[in-house]
Symmetry: C2
Subunit: 217 residues, 2 copies
């Protein structure tokens, strides 16, 4: 176990985890511009977040900067990618090959951020047995055996809301440890199971409301 991994097991605050990818993308741009070193002050100017907040966030990551010079750009990128889990490939199953599920199967870009959807599940006879973007679609009934075969512990949930809880229960029973929930349904899970909610519809609702507000004010 190296230093990065030891650091990675501390429970990092969610706001920090959400900001770190911003720093990563900015530092990558600075590397493109040929910067050998980068400081939190420089990042701060680019993205309008307090330098002290950035330094604090980066303190969770196992990297040390040099006074007045900052962090070595290459090293910071490497350490951040490692810390955020983007350098390990995490295999995942996707449940529900509807419109959004199918779209996510097309998004091979998730692989660059550490997620590889290796198989999908559905009950639609028109889909079962087929492949989408090279990813096999199996019948949901075969999930338990496929789980053992692939050794997957992440499930991406893109089913209709009326079966969201039922499919979640099945995932958990089969050994899934983390659910990436794209449904607008608030699923219930045992305490030791991770749920990450990404409701595109909730984000749309916020955007529409703000847009109406700006147009009328």
């Amino acid at each position: 176990m190296n230093g990065h991994q030891i650091k990675a097991i501390t429970k990092v605050p969610e706001p920090t985890l959400r900001r770190l990818p911003w720093y990563l993308s900015n530092v990558k741009l600075m590397r493109e511009r040929g910067e050998e070193y980068v400081s939190s002050t420089q990042i701060s100017k680019e993205i309008n977040i307090d330098a002290s907040q950035i330094a604090k966030d980066l303190s969770y990551v196992n990297i040390s900067g040099r006074t007045r010079v900052g962090y070595k750009t290459d090293e910071l990128i490497h350490v951040l990618e490692d810390f955020l889990g983007f350098t390990n490939i995490h295999k995942a199953f996707l449940f529900g090959v509807g419109s959004l599920g199918g779209a996510l199967l097309h998004d091979s870009g998730l692989r660059h951020f550490g997620l590889e959807i290796v198989a999908a599940f559905d009950v639609n006879p028109l889909l079962v047995g087929k492949q989408l973007n090279g990813i096999p679609i199996y019948h949901s009934d075969t999930f338990f055996e496929k789980r053992k075969e692939y050794g997957v512990n992440i499930g991406v949930l893109t089913v209709p809301i009326n079966i969201a809880q039922e499919i979640t229960d099945m995932m958990v029973e089969g050994g899934i440890k983390a659910v990436w929930n794209f449904t607008p349904f608030r699923i219930r899970v045992p305490e030791n199971i991770v749920v990450q909610n990404t409701s595109l519809y909730a984000h749309l609702a916020v955007m529409f409301n703000r847009l109406n507000f700006n147009q009328i004010k």
Copy 2:
């Protein structure tokens, strides 16, 4: 202007706007089960949020419940959908037909939540002039004229991070009023422009960290 629209122009707190779609999906399920009325206490039991919080959130929406009986299910669904902007179709342009951009073009389901991507922009000669899921892909240089032609004021940003700011600036100059930013880049916009950040990668980072934490603790 009816009552719903008048209410919709108040600046609703973001946490409320994020919870309302949860209530909507649950109330839809209750309708499927044949419930004619639904109370905040019932919703509370289903999704594990305080009934008082639910009642407070629903107070932003222009609907009145009856004591002990609750809200009329059909009416609550209609009013929530209307309030959240899911019943109006908002036209949008998408910028950057890469892996994620292409995936979003495949997701016709966004239409049920009020967003219709009517055209996409890219500079890749292999894409320009083609269609994806029936949606035309134009050269980015034609954005200004297409903006006028389509009268669109929402832009979906799925370009590489190194041009995220440049494309945002172009959108704003062309008259786009709201940017749905899927890049991990923190874009800067004038004060009157709405930005909704949806960084799938940041969500992945949070999920991976929590998963590692659970597995090692």
